[in-house]
Subunit: 203 residues, 2 copies
């Protein structure tokens, strides 16, 4: 698949079938992940592939609690606008059904693998994006989530993640119920400035 | 270009020609950037395209100072190992020649556009990775850098970036002197765990 097609149709897939995902497909997307750049090429990432039902059930509980705390108060507000209602509904669906997703992938960063003062995310999220683009190319649905962080310590204990490692993203992976396609975005001309903040140009 | 080829050959390009980069090529990679996912699809990103020579000169000074502070002390150590010497030398070259790069793109995040407690990077670095993959597909070299953050306040004043906006990455963009190709990475089997931290599998 052409890289621009993958980029242009990688919308967040939050409604996923419970059907299993083969190891080989997981290796394909993980192999794409580790091709990403990282600060000084130190590759401070790890990827934890979670398929154990009991582990997924517990993570699902932590995730749902994070969802309720952060997004619960905004439900009426989000549903009042069709532009946000669709995203809210699908994200709520995911929060209520996370344990049924066949595979969860946790991306982590080794704190001692990043330069002093550098943002760890710069050395992990490009890999996560590679993983999601590769998934889209082979037809697997994904979305990047961070709500588990509201219970990060419990999640780390559950997965036996040691000190010095931060959890950065939890990516549900499965065969999508819906269809890939373009997602709505603000026009690029609106968010791009030239030489100084606020200076826009026509394309 | 196939998405797996772009992913597999997007190595950091730190030696770039001073030749100009056309607006249309910049729109192409910026348009890929904004296709990326972000928390709640809030798209809290902006991209500042910097071509003004005086602005680049000043950013280059701040960047070089950050480089000297963070990486200067490790020079002998890095050069002693061929595996790190190559990366060090090219990164040092970039630090000494940043102002000669035709285009610098600063990616920023709006702090009020990310959910409470969420890492802002999760809503910006996937867009940065899209931008770099699109650049690779059309032959433009890039690398993700964050050393300007050691003088973030000065850089924000220079670019007139208001309060509430964080600078997340500075991406030099230009036609590369070298060739694209695979970069060295630890084997994916080493960095991937299954269900519990430390549990590896053969592919």
């Amino acid at each position: 698949m052409d890289v621009f097609e993958a980029i242009g149709t990688q919308r967040a897939m939050r409604r996923l079938k419970p059907d299993p995902v083969a190891d080989e497909d997981l290796w394909t997307i993980l192999d794409a992940a580790i091709k990403a750049p990282s600060g000084g090429n130190r590759q401070p990432w790890n990827f934890l592939v979670i398929r154990d039902p009991e582990t997924k059930r517990k993570i699902g509980e932590y995730y749902l609690d994070g969802w309720n705390k952060i997004y619960g108060p905004f439900k009426d507000f989000a549903l009042a606008d069709p532009a946000t209602a669709r995203t809210f509904n699908s994200a709520e669906h995911l929060a209520n059904h996370l344990a049924e997703v066949p595979v969860l992938i946790m991306a982590t960063v080794q704190r001692d693998g990043i330069a002093p003062g550098s943002p760890g995310g710069a050395s992990v999220y490009p890999a996560v994006q590679n993983l999601m683009l590769a998934a889209r190319a082979i037809g697997l649905g994904t979305t990047i989530t961070t709500l588990h962080q509201h219970h990060e310590q419990e999640v780390k204990e559950l997965l036996r993640i040691p000190e010095g490692i931060d959890t950065m993203a939890l990516i549900p992976v499965g065969w999508p119920k819906g269809h890939f396609g373009p997602a709505s975005r603000q026009p690029v001309e609106q968010v791009t400035f030239w030489d100084r903040w606020g200076e826009r140009r026509e394309r």
